[in-house]
């Protein structure tokens, strides 16, 4: 009898635990801040400055979501995660959203039980090598020692690439980008491989960037994007449409400079009106305020502004828009309509 009560209590406790993890939006509102997993430091994407303020392309996504949900882009607590710890951190509920240049793959989506809400950077895996090695193609790397971040898709792509080309290599698994760069610069590995954007970002921090070349091969597709846990569709929708709002804003010409003005009253473009909440009730449907998109855009600007400010051609990282241009400019960046 007592035991039955006990197991009843256990079952009840487990069920409430299950329900509690379902309402991420309520959790975030109750906490008053968003918990966001980022990388341990990759210039341009997510890096903390001397005062501990996080800044970067991935960080901007977190700030936009925080602005959309809580109205305050600063209401974010950042958790630095390594390639190895990031999924456990998200699955366990330690973070609400993971924005850490994470590749959207089938097994991560299906088997690891995560929901990728979109793509904020279309990337591919590349190699960097010192020019003095005289390597002009990744296929010349037979027998080379390759530094690689462990626990990433790049590790598997690398194995596939060398196997298909029937050449050998010596992998040196490393935990963080910083350690990999230390080994690469000391010559303990001949080449370092990771997402090409990450290589460009890292090269910008070298003493003599011009001594190092990115090899022409891009050996994989790496669509990078923010992700959340399976099982909370409302929260996934919020993150997805906060990201889409940034993308749509660029397409529609809404910038951080004119967003306040445009959101004052309904203009003559119905899509902008719906986006900024001056028409319709899209925000309410999400469980947010009507001006959620306005807040998200005001946090750091639209997608194009965020790109230009953090990793664009005027920054030391100097990445061209390329695949990441708007679809209207021949790129892949495309937001479904706000309707």
């Amino acid at each position: 009898m007592k035991i039955t009560t006990f197991f009843g209590a256990v079952a009840a406790a487990t069920m409430t635990a299950g329900f509690a993890s379902a309402g991420t939006l309520d959790d975030v509102k109750a906490k008053g801040f968003l918990q966001c997993g980022v990388s341990t430091g990759l210039t341009g994407f997510s890096a903390a400055d001397a005062n501990g303020n996080w800044d970067g392309f991935d960080v901007a996504v977190c700030r936009a979501v925080a602005a959309a949900v809580l109205g305050d882009p600063q209401a974010v607590k950042f958790t630095p995660t390594t390639g190895k710890t990031r999924f456990t951190a998200l699955a366990s509920g330690e973070i609400d959203i993971l924005a850490r240049n994470t590749t959207w793959t089938f097994s991560r989506d299906v088997d690891l039980k995560f929901t990728f809400v979109g793509v904020n950077y279309y990337d591919g895996q590349g190699f960097i090598a010192p020019k003095e090695l005289g390597v002009s193609s990744a296929k010349d790397l037979d027998g080379a020692t390759v530094c690689i971040q462990t626990g990433t898709t790049t590790e598997l792509n690398l194995a596939d690439f060398f196997r298909t080309n029937n050449i050998s290599y010596e992998p040196v698994p490393i935990e963080t980008n910083a350690e990999a760069l230390q080994q690469y610069l000391a010559g303990a590995c001949d080449t370092y491989t990771t997402d090409a954007s990450g290589l460009a970002a890292s090269r910008a921090t070298f003493e003599n960037p011009e001594d190092h070349a990115l090899l022409p091969e891009i050996i994989s597709k790496e669509p990078l994007g923010p992700l959340v846990r399976h099982g909370d569709d409302q929260w996934a929708d919020i993150v997805r449409w906060s990201l889409n709002a940034l993308i749509a804003a660029e397409e529609l010409g809404v910038t951080s400079a004119n967003v306040k003005e445009s959101a004052m009253q309904a203009g003559n473009n119905p899509e902008i009106n719906r986006l900024l909440g001056t028409e319709g009730n899209l925000g309410e449907q999400l469980g947010l305020s009507a001006d959620f998109a306005k807040n998200a855009i005001a946090a750091g600007g639209n997608y194009g502004e965020i790109f230009a400010k953090n990793i664009g051609e005027s920054t030391p990282i100097g990445l061209a828009r390329g695949l990441n241009a708007q679809w209207t400019d021949g790129g892949l960046i495309y937001s479904p309509p706000f309707r």
Binding site: T88, K113, T150, V172, I174, G187, G231
Partner: protein
């Protein structure tokens, strides 16, 4: 008055379970055991239910799937098409390799330092104190990272060996290359007839033991002491060398040579293996040294005084009188140092050494998302290794401990 001491007249009553001191302790123990088991059951049930709710029921099928990643140091055949289970096994062997190398280094160094710390020479004993205090009071992870950083930054990269004006060169008549990727040493190559040399060499090792026991008996019978060390050294080298030259030098050396990006040929000891072994060995040696010192100091001073009164040299006193008695005190704490070293080797990923924590608990866990399963297996593996080490050491302890008559 007598009523209080009377045993209860009628049979067993339930209240006796609590009020009768004969049964009370048993009752408490059973209740505690039941509560404990319920607690464990609740935790397990909770974990299983939550995993099921996440859509990740407990299953170990992933061990049979293709791993897809490569491992640099493999003691057995492995490629990225083999299973996660195989990758875990490669990791286990790497763990064992670094644990064995580390334990040997820690024991040799530890005994040496422990003895030197008791030296009458003030400078030597102070130096050893500094060594012990600085190593054992800094976390081992820092030593591992520091050793690796020194390795990477202070030795030349392989490309420094290339070209006409190379800035680095190989040592020991171009047979050994020390680079920041590791150490390349020559590898013995066996030609026909080499088996004879190997057999003779093994026989001479047996010979050393036979000679040792013969010499001991002779000493007990006649009191004469032979120059044992030199004779054993001769038995070790002379017959094998003789056969080696008689057979026309059937064993050659494969020298490492710079080819492409790296040195090829020879035996390659990776920087991560060397750095990890050194750091774990040096760190644990500090603890072993303290155990050795404690063991030696536990042997009463009268023993060494009696030995010198008999005219034994300090070296023989140490070997014949002090150490055999000290070992009884040294072995039990030494077991736990070996266990510590083995468990500390799980910090290997800090230097990119692919031990079992790096393969099963790292890449496999990450690529398959089976956190609970991987960690359970990992814990079982470490538990098994530790239990084996401690049972072997306990057996050794039995054989050296004082025989009481």
């Amino acid at each position: 008055m007598s009523a209080t001491t009377d045993p209860p007249k009628d049979g067993f009553q339930l209240s006796q379970l609590i009020y009768d001191t004969r049964y009370r302790s048993m009752t408490i123990q059973i209740v505690a055991l039941v509560l404990f088991l319920l607690g464990v059951g609740w935790l397990l049930n909770n974990a299983a239910q939550n995993l099921a709710a996440l859509g990740k029921p407990l299953s170990f099928g992933f061990l049979g799937e293709a791993a897809g990643y490569d491992i640099n140091q493999k003691l057995i055949e492995y490629n990225n098409q083999m299973s996660h289970g195989r990758a875990a096994l490669v990791g286990v062997l790497n763990t064992l390799l670094v644990a064995v190398l580390g334990c040997i280094l820690a024991t040799v160094l530890g005994v040496f330092i422990g003895v030197l710390r008791l030296s009458n020479n003030w400078v030597v004993s102070r130096l050893m104190t500094v060594y012990i205090e600085s190593f054992r009071n800094v976390p081992v992870l820092l030593w591992i990272v520091l050793t690796m950083a020194i390795f990477i930054e202070s030795f030349p990269a392989p490309r420094a060996f290339r070209g006409d004006n190379a800035t680095a060169s190989m040592s020991f008549w171009d047979s050994v290359a020390l680079t920041n990727r590791g150490l390349y040493i020559p590898k013995p190559e066996m030609y026909s007839g080499s088996m004879a040399v190997v057999v003779v060499f093994l026989l001479s090792i047996v010979g050393i033991f036979v000679f040792g026991s013969w010499s001991r008996k002779r000493q007990e019978a006649t009191g004469q002491i032979l120059p044992n060390f030199w004779i054993k050294l001769a038995i070790f080298f002379v017959p094998a060398l003789l056969v080696y030259f008689l057979m026309g030098r059937p064993i050659g050396l494969e020298l490492p040579a710079l080819k492409g990006f790296n040195f090829q040929g020879g035996i390659y000891m990776r920087n991560s293996l060397i750095a990890l072994t050194l750091a774990l060995g040096l760190y644990t040696a500090a603890f072993v040294a303290e155990n050795v010192r404690a063991g030696i100091m536990a042997v009463s001073k009268g023993q060494s005084e009696a030995a010198s009164a008999l005219g034994l040299s300090p070296g023989r006193t140490m070997n014949l009188i002090i150490l055999p008695q000290a070992l009884r005190v040294i072995i039990p704490p030494l077991i736990s140092q070996y266990l510590n070293l083995t468990k500390n080797s799980s910090l290997a990923i800090a230097v990119g050494y692919m031990d079992v924590t790096g393969t099963l608990g790292g890449i496999t866990l990450n690529q398959t998302g089976k956190e609970m399963e991987s960690l359970l297996i990992l814990m079982a593996i470490y538990l098994t290794i530790s239990l084996i080490i401690s049972s072997v050491m306990n057996w050794y302890n039995e054989s050296v401990k004082l025989r009481e008559r």
